[in-house]
Symmetry: C2
Subunit: 396 residues, 2 copies
């Protein structure tokens, strides 16, 4: 690990387009992609070193690490990291490695609710959460993230009116995707009291927790206290913040032994599948050795975020955003552009930008797009230029 | 792909012990491991090339292949291979990639039976199958593989007495682990009639189907006909035959659309997790490009198998085996050695060989060991020498 890590930006668009990832393959060469949560940065050196060691040795057998099944080092590394970053005491025994976050969403929904039960989900939301609820014959109770003028927030009194007899689960996404909110401790404490009062399980997706900007502090929901922990399933992964989603390694952390046992009665742990060794070693390298790389990435992303905010405010004030408190995702409200199509379609057609469609996060949000700004400054500037030109044309 | 592939044997024991796999890490340096189903051969060149390309490009984003989600190429490649090898028409749409075979066992057990139902399993069996049945509150009905003097076989009349009202599933392992049997078409047809007559789902683990020796022919159970296919879940993977278990990529193939839909009602497909790109590309390289490597491996394994049979017959006739018809696993019946401990413990203590304990495949089989002979000739010879010396001491 170097003491002064640098991020390697992929500046050459031919190289980016030669990649076989969704981000740079989905569209033709005239479209700049800004959708799926991939960053246009090369992985940190310690991750690459860990992978290259396995590949050099062709060491693809049933893996062991530290005298045990390899996946256990993911659990240990995560628990150590949670203690160091948040003073959260989590036993590695309560951590189940899985392939991806979506799997980690379906599993507790199936374990802790039945068909016909209802599940509260903050909307707009990561689309697979909706699929996981609707696709398993549960009923979705949407809790809107409303723009209060300074930020997106949910309303506790609205939440109280939403909950009903058969409500079993609250799905929390913190930091919230796509709004970029980092919930304050007092907001989380209110949610915790609510969950306890209504005997709810909380599925807390914290996959963006490494990507918090200065001025905010991530609080793991299960770290609020043992009573709330005992009803909280935390989902996390290094894949988002360290840019290794194709390697597949995520985890489910149970807030208590009892919770894990209740889960396992419905969903045997081995139904989850076992971790692949490349994902396991990459994840552990990320958490144990790559904080300096992440810090450098966050410096870059902070500048990008601020630039987007400043440029749009100056040039296209009709496009509204609250600077995200976390994530490299900006949630652009384009309703004042008064477009005749969805905002996604407008920018794809008129600006040749591939954003994520707002309506994929909430059917009511077709006038929004989610803007993945984890790219190099030249590409970011070109995207901003294209936004400005297209938006001005929309006025005329 | 070279036209004359050679297998790269790992002859240097220091190199083998430097590997971080279970096989060479579990025991100290004086023990020769012959247990977990890893081969001491380097992977085929096209697999290594496919992996190295991803690693060279640091191409770890959300992967696409051929314009779709990457996992789909696993389904396509498998379906093509089944058609080419067995004239089995399987739609790629009916193939669900998963992480490992164990996951593929739990999922259909949960989908097609309920607690209290019974499941027939051939014994001795791969240990996780027993765990999957017993650990999900199903009842295990063991169907013994009996030594009929020429081979291990199950008895259809015994099977008829076993089945009962609440029997829902037959778990077939073909080729059978650990006995190495490749079931003949007539045996499989009898099983198929039985499954239809008793309205059973068949889970057919065919992970060893690439490792069949001359004189035998693998028949995919679902290829017997559409009626039996419509109740068959086939499990397969390239990990065993191409020696990449740590990369995790397996599949569940449904024999009909209706079967997949019934499955999905109980087990949403995304609960399975998504394939990692290294495992996906390695698997497709294996199936599409590595048959010459596999042929070379099978030549080597055939010689090893025959050598074990000949040497034991000549030197230690008290150890009985039927030469396996498939797999690199020999099922050694040591009951005539009249050991005071399990055969596993005897060979570990007296010969410093780490076999798989027979009792892990069947509690009644403590006088058996499973011998993984996928190693180089010098190591194989040393294992045979150690067996002979220890067995002779047991007589005195």
């Amino acid at each position: 690990m170097t003491s002064t890590p640098t991020i390697s930006f992929e500046l050459n668009r031919a190289d980016l387009r030669a990649r076989r990832n969704a981000k740079w393959s989905q569209y033709g060469p005239d479209v700049l992609p800004a959708f799926v949560a991939d960053m246009d940065f090369s992985v940190a050196a310690p991750i690459q070193t860990a992978i290259e060691r396995i590949v050099r040795d062709r060491d693809y057998g049933y893996p062991m690490r530290e005298g045990n099944k390899a996946e256990l080092i993911v659990a240990k590394s995560f628990a150590r990291r949670m203690k160091a970053l948040y003073d959260w005491d989590l036993s590695p025994d309560l951590v189940l490695p899985v392939a991806d976050l979506v799997q980690g969403t379906y599993a507790p929904i199936l374990a802790f609710s039945d068909p016909g039960d209802s599940i509260i989900l903050q909307v707009p939301s990561y689309p697979p959460f909706r699929d996981a609820i609707n696709g398993t014959e549960r009923r979705l109770l949407p809790l809107p993230m409303r723009d209060d003028g300074t930020r997106y927030a949910f309303d506790m009194s609205e939440l109280e009116t939403l909950v009903e007899e058969g409500t079993r689960i609250f799905v929390l996404c913190n930091p919230q995707n796509p709004t970029g909110r980092v919930f304050r401790r007092d907001e989380l404490l209110s949610l915790a009291q609510f969950a306890i009062a209504h005997d709810l399980i909380v599925i807390s997706d914290e996959i963006h927790s490494d990507l918090v900007y200065p001025g905010q502090q991530h609080v793991p929901f299960a770290s609020l206290g043992s009573e709330i922990a005992s009803r909280t399933i935390t989902l996390n992964s290094a894949t988002k913040s360290f840019n290794i989603p194709g390697l597949r390694c995520a985890l489910i952390a149970f807030g208590s032994e009892d919770l894990r046992e209740r889960f396992e009665k419905r969903i045997p742990l081995r139904l989850a599948g076992q971790g692949n060794i490349i994902g396991v070693d990459a994840t552990v390298a990320a958490w144990n050795e790559c904080q300096p790389w992440l810090d450098a990435v966050m410096d870059h992303l902070l500048k990008a975020r601020n630039r987007i905010k400043a440029v749009l405010k100056a040039e296209v004030p009709e496009i509204h955003l609250h600077a995200p408190e976390a994530t490299y995702l900006a949630w652009l409200d384009c309703s004042k552009l008064k477009l005749s199509t969805s905002a996604f379609q407008f920018f794809l057609d008129k600006a040749r930008i591939g954003f994520s469609p707002g309506e994929s996060f909430d059917p009511n949000c077709a006038s929004f797009v989610r803007f993945n700004f984890a790219t190099s400054t030249p590409i970011l500037d070109e995207i901003l230029d294209r936004i400005i030109i297209a938006a001005r044309q929309s006025d005329s």
